[in-house]
């Protein structure tokens, strides 16, 4: 059986590299913010008092001007605070870059490496040339000899533009005894170069070192001060265990990256060495199971061999990876929020959660998008259904909650509750909100996968496959930026803040109505069906993937696409539904016009009730359309259902607005409106009615379409 090529998609090495860098940046933000608070708190208090005094002196009689003056006075200082955090990050990245750049030179010096030339052994030199050609490297590395290292191994290292492969004495000694073994290990090292993981690895190590030097050591000093000399021992310990957890997390992320790159190098090398070559023989040497292998820098030998034999295992992202990505993505949220708060004017305060979301959503989307695509691709080839993608989303969500909790800023007690009940309600709110995130990400991951199943049918080459999953990630990132920012805004507000927002916003219904009726929600609802169904326009009669298998002589993978989507039918159902709804609206309108007294239908309260009933009617027809399309259409019924609901909602909105506007021209349709024939199709009226009929209709259609489609597929089975 041919082995599937995992290099068609970005590898776990790439994923873990991004994860590590994001984790280090996030952890550094939280550390530098904590240090900044530690250093500046007393001077900040002093400065605030000073600013208040100055503002009173400057504007003794005008409170508004006083507040403005005080804010401007504080702004300069807050800029300094935020500058501290940014400077810390800049220093960390500079130190990491410096370490990365100097590491090759240090390794050559430290290990006393010297160039390996044909003079040492012409046969080996020629064999190495041949292996470089076989690997298809754009530029051959410089081979170095590490003659006193008895290990049968090597080391690929270097920096951009200069690559080295050190050959240990133990390995060089193998050439004339067991040339196949020598070549297998040399191939493994060259595979690191081919996989482009050398820069990632050495930068990751450098960044981890820089993190320890620039962030952890100063934090350690500050924590000693907090624990032993601070006023609150509990708070000090709260910081300490978080700091230890963050340091441990960065270590685990680094170890994960180093292990993964070895597995991918084995798989790459196996292309040249053969499925049952010397490399496999080396890897199959029995080794005891090590339950602590997750702490090590080398993969568990059994796992290494399994991945070599079955590279399809590498297509599935583990729940732990998704969980870790979740932690990294929100670890800096509370501190970034504080940073943006310092940087931005107070009028933009509500946007600060979106700042953090914009920065980290691409990674979350990358995790969801790529894991979904890889699983879908694998399942399609194996003729199975993609499994566990929703759970990956949930794991990501769980990690995000933990990340928020781990942030050093979260050590600051939010409020001092005076009773159990006082604590219970806000905690229940956060619990509910956390569950909402986890469930939301569960369904989002499923949606991404469902779309990927259809988009896979647009694949004609590895390039078009890349384009398709890049599009998925881009779209998911956009949706996640909005949704996660929104979610975090309310999480950050806590129960007390949300309660105030709801009270000031005219009650829960009004606030929810504003959210559902917003343009952001419209675009999200639109993309729910548009993403999967738009693939139809690029659909191919045959799925062709070149390099689908690892073996060099394998033919391209060809698959027959599944049943086509039926956009036309869904649109037709939506149109029919809209026609029926508008017809019924027209009948009701005429009925009201001729059977209800003018004094009644011109009454504002009555009009309000009438409008609501028409909206409810429109939504009912949309739900009907969603239900019919979801049941009728076999493939991606839920997406067709949403499309049908969207078409029905849009057309019904236009129809209803037409009836209103017609009332301005023809008295038989008039229910006492004002205006004239000239402003037929008022865009603001369409927007207003549409925000109810389309957005609410779509929102309520989601559960109907998903449930109906699921039940219908059970019945079909």
């Amino acid at each position: 059986m041919r082995r599937l090529n995992p290099f068609l998609f970005p590898s776990d090495t790439d994923f873990r590299f991004v994860l590590l860098v994001v984790a280090i940046v996030a952890a550094s933000i939280t550390v530098f913010n904590s240090l900044q608070v530690d250093i500046f708190t007393s001077s900040w208090l002093k400065m605030t008092v000073d600013c208040i005094e100055k503002s009173k002196l400057a504007h003794p009689d005008d409170l508004t001007l006083q507040l403005q003056f005080e804010k401007q006075c504080r702004d300069r200082y807050e800029l300094l605070q935020s500058g501290w955090i940014l400077l810390g990050i800049a220093i960390l990245l500079s130190v990491a870059t410096l370490i990365y750049w100097l590491t090759p030179r240090w390794l050559v010096w430290r290990r006393k490496l010297s160039p390996f030339t044909a003079e040492d052994d012409p046969q080996i030199a020629s064999s190495l040339d041949e292996l470089c050609r076989e690997a298809g490297l754009a530029r051959a590395p410089i081979f170095l000899s590490d003659p006193l290292n008895p290990n049968v191994g090597g080391l690929a290292f270097g920096r951009i533009g200069r690559r080295y492969v050190a050959l240990n004495g133990g390995l060089l000694a193998q050439f004339h005894i067991d040339p196949a073994r020598f070549r297998a290990i040399a191939r493994h090292e060259l595979a690191h170069l081919k996989n482009n993981d050398v820069d990632k690895t050495y930068f990751a190590v450098a960044a981890s070192l820089a993190f320890a030097l620039v962030a952890l050591i100063p934090l350690g000093v500050s924590l000693i001060d907090d624990v032993f000399f601070g006023p609150d021992l509990g708070f000090g310990f709260n910081l300490v265990w978080r700091a230890i957890a963050i340091a441990g997390y960065v270590y685990l992320a680094l170890a994960g990256l180093l292990r993964t790159r070895e597995v991918y190098a084995d798989v790459r090398a196996s292309i040249w060495d053969g499925e049952s070559g010397a490399l496999r023989e080396i890897l199959s040497k029995p080794a005891g199971a090590n339950w602590l292998s997750f702490l090590g820098f080398h993969p568990d030998p059994a796992y290494r061999l399994r991945s070599f034999d079955e590279p399809q295992r590498l297509f599935r992202l583990s729940y732990w990876d998704a969980f870790a990505a979740g932690v990294a993505s929100t670890l800096a949220f509370p501190d970034l929020n504080a940073l943006f708060d310092l940087l931005l004017d107070s009028q933009y305060e509500s946007l600060t959660p979106y700042g953090a979301s914009i920065l980290f959503a691409p990674m979350m989307a990358g995790v969801l998008g790529l894991s979904a695509w890889r699983s879908v691709y694998l399942a399609r080839i194996q003729g199975a259904k993609p499994q566990g993608i929703g759970r990956l989303g949930a794991a990501l969500g769980l990690g995000m909650i933990l990340g928020l909790w781990l942030a050093l800023r979260s050590a600051v007690p939010y409020l001092d509750y005076d009773s159990f009940t006082g604590w219970l309600v806000p905690s229940l709110f956060l619990f509910f909100w956390a569950i909402l995130l986890i469930v939301g990400l569960f369904f989002l991951a499923k949606w991404v996968a469902a779309g990927a199943v259809i988009w896979l049918e647009t694949t004609r080459s590895a390039k078009s496959l890349r384009r398709a999953y890049a599009f998925t990630i881009f779209l998911t990132a956009a949706i996640m930026t909005i949704c996660v920012g929104f979610w975090y805004f309310f999480w950050f507000q806590g129960y007390e803040g949300v309660y105030m927002i709801v009270s000031l916003g005219g009650g829960l219904v009004s606030v929810v109505n504003r959210i559902i009726g917003s343009p952001y929600a419209f675009w999200i609802f639109l993309s729910l069906w548009a993403y999967p169904l738009s693939a139809r326009f690029w659909r191919r009669s045959e799925i062709v993937v070149e390099n689908a298998y690892l073996e060099n002589d394998s033919p391209a993978l060809k698959l027959q696409p599944s049943e086509s989507t039926r956009i036309g039918l869904a649109v037709a159902i939506g149109v029919v539904s809209a026609i029926l709804a508008v017809a019924l609206m027209a009948i009701i309108r005429l009925g009201v016009r001729f059977s209800v007294a003018e004094a009644t239908y011109t009454d504002l309260i009555w009009k309000d009730g009438y409008l609501k009933s028409q909206i409810a009617l429109a939504i009912l027809f949309e739900l009907g359309a969603a239900f019919i399309a979801s049941v009728w259409i076999k493939r991606a019924g839920w997406a067709h259902g949403l499309l049908a609901a969207f078409v029905a909602g849009g057309l019904t909105t236009l129809g209803f607005v037409s009836l209103v506007e017609l009332g301005d021209c023809f008295s038989i349709f008039s229910l006492g409106g004002v205006g004239g024939c000239a402003d037929l199709f008022d865009p603001s009226l369409i927007g207003l009615i549409g925000s109810y009929m389309v957005n609410w209709g779509m929102f309520l259609s989601i559960p109907v379409a998903v449930t109906a489609s699921k039940i219908a597929s059970w019945f079909r089975q």
Binding site: K112, S114, F116, E119, D120, D121, I124, S145, P147, L148, N149, P150, N151, V152, G153, G154, L155, F157, N168, G169, G170, L171, L172, A173, Q174, F175, H176, I177, I185, H188, E189, T201, Y202, V205, L258, E262, I282, L283, K285, F297, H298, P299, P301, R304
Partner: protein, 161 residues
Amino acid sequence: MDNQTTNQLVSDISRDVLSEVAPQEMPLFRAASQAYFKNPSASLTQKSGDDMLGFGAGEAVTLLTPYLLSATAEVIKFLAEEVKKAVSEEGASMIGEKVKSLFKKYRNPDESKNKVQPLTAEQLAQVQAIAMKEARRLRLSDKNTKLLANAIAGSLAVKKG
């Protein structure tokens, strides 16, 4: 004998012996001897275990080269002393040549043309003991210690009878 001459001699003799006992190590000999002469003590502490970023599945083998270089250096030191005793009136510059000629490979087949007598059985035993002592000091296994000592001793010319 100056350092350069000694090093050259150690290098030449070691290479010859290595080609007999561990020819597979020849590709690493040049670099290993360079490292050894730069810092003999550091080069003898062989690294064990795999690199954090290395291959990770390769076992460690015993490389004889560093042991051989060290043992040969001790043997050359001894031989130089022996030659000095025998030809004390001659210049130091010639000692190197004479020590070299104690090794079979560099000895003239016409015994009369050699300026130095071959080693006696007693001296050979001493050479063997020096090589073994050095190899043991460096914690080489007994089997390899014997192999090394025998090979060095075997490369020397011995008085017949």
